[in-house]
């Protein structure tokens, strides 16, 4: 199968830049898989795991991301994540911190739509917490 070029960046650094076979991303409307020659798409992300399959026969590299976007165009996938932690280094405290930041933001904002969005994120992270 063909490969696609993946650039995975956070504001602090370039995390991952390789040709990969398949990437599973937690889109805000639901998880989806991107293979090579996927049609152009821009999607926002919800908190969750990005699974990168460099090779389908091998185990994926998994990162936890909080917020961000993916942009797929002409076989070039760009993941812009606000923050990313490799799954092995993710601790319960990380998740706790993330929930607290969102909660703080949700309490501070007057905007209902924003509040709903943040609450949704909190729920997602809480679900992940249970899973872990």
């Amino acid at each position: 199968m063909g490969k696609l070029k993946l650039d995975f960046v956070t504001p602090e650094r370039l995390l991952y830049s390789k040709d990969v076979e398949q990437v599973i991303v937690p889109g805000s409307e639901g998880e989806f898989t991107i293979l090579s020659d996927h049609s152009p798409i821009i999607s926002s992300l919800k908190p969750g795991y990005i699974k990168i399959y460099e090779d389908l026969s091998n185990e994926p590299t998994i990162y936890f991301v909080t917020d961000g976007f993916v942009d797929m165009a002409s076989n070039q996938l760009t993941i812009l994540a606000q923050s990313a932690i490799e799954k092995g280094q993710l601790t319960a405290k990380n998740l706790e911190d993330i929930i607290n930041t969102y909660q703080g933001e949700a309490d501070a904002t007057e905007n209902d739509a924003k509040k709903n969005k943040l609450n949704l994120k909190i729920d997602t992270v809480k679900a992940l917490q249970v899973e872990a």
Binding site: P40, I42, S44, F69, D71, Q76
Partner: protein
């Protein structure tokens, strides 16, 4: 003729100063390395997001319903100038260059009858601007406690700006910072944040971008994506600006301290020469006194 003790004292004090400036230079060099590294590692994200923005802009169907963050609110009465400087001095003309550029713009805008509001980042710029435009400063942010600038710092500032924009406090926002060209060259720079300057991202001559003028699928809706992406883009611009600023500050300090160390060295040489001459003159004088005393016997 200055006496010997006085000369010696001056020599000692200049040597002490030289030690300090040399230490500061070395500290600045080490910090510069770090700052440059983080500025460089932030660059991929910034360039990626500008590519994504360019893609988005080119595939937008119509600009009539475009969000205000991107196209502005149609007015240009009130300007918000975000002036980013350092929290510490002793870095050459770094702070004053940025403030000079900003002050020029402030005066220009006032002449045109516009309203000006200022947000200061960094204590030094705040002190300088406060002298002439205190009533225009609406906020002051100090990053003194921050060792190395993290994205969250920029996020806070960015959100602050966006909130103020949504409340209609200003129409146009510009960021002032110093862009880092090299260790000896930092150029004060103004960048428009709101509305988004259209066009300059596209000259990012990446061959990938030209071929990707395809129609995008949006998930969720285009407007929702835009709503998230635009503030994010703004935050990133602020972040990039702060990082460049940090690198420039260290670079500027390094060359300023290098100069100071060299000047101190020159001064020490001069003082040593003067000291030795004076000492010799005193010895000669004493000898003459002894000899003429002996002759008198």
């Amino acid at each position: 003729m200055p006496n010997l003790k006085e000369l010696k004292n001056r020599q000692v004090s200049v040597k002490a100063t030289q030690k300090i400036t040399r230490a500061m230079q070395m500290v600045a060099a080490a910090k510069l390395n770090k700052a440059q590294e983080s500025a460089q590692s932030a660059r991929p994200y910034a360039s990626k997001i500008s590519i994504v923005m360019a893609n988005l802009l080119s595939s937008m169907d119509s600009s009539s319903n475009a969000p205000e963050l991107m196209v502005g609110n149609g007015k240009s009465d009130t300007y918000l100038l975000v002036v980013a400087t350092a929290d510490r001095g002793l870095c050459g003309a770094f702070n004053s260059n940025i403030v000079k550029l900003a002050t020029q713009e402030i005066n220009e805008l006032i002449k045109q009858g516009k309203q000006v509001k200022i947000i200061c980042i960094g204590k030094k710029g705040y002190d300088l601007i406060r002298r002439s435009h205190e009533e225009k400063i609406i906020d002051f942010i100090s990053l003194k406690e921050v060792k190395s600038i993290a994205y969250s710092d920029a996020e806070g500032i960015g959100n602050n700006i966006v909130t103020r924009f949504e409340e209609g406090e200003f129409d146009i926002c510009k960021l002032y910072y110093s862009s880092f060209k090299s260790v000896i060259s930092q150029i004060p720079h103004a960048q428009q944040l709101i509305p988004l300057p259209i066009g300059n991202e596209v000259d990012n001559d990446d061959s990938d971008t030209n071929s990707s003028l395809a129609i995008y699928d949006y998930e969720p809706e285009e407007s929702d994506v835009m709503e998230d992406l635009l503030p994010l883009n703004l935050n990133i611009q602020v972040f990039q600006g702060l990082l460049e600023n940090a690198a420039s500050e260290q670079g500027s300090r390094m060359s300023a301290m290098d100069n100071a160390t060299r000047n101190a060295g020159e001064m020490i040489n001069k003082l040593t020469l003067q000291y030795n001459r004076t000492r010799q003159a005193i010895i000669t004088k004493e000898l003459i006194e002894i000899i003429s005393g002996a002759e008198a016997l």
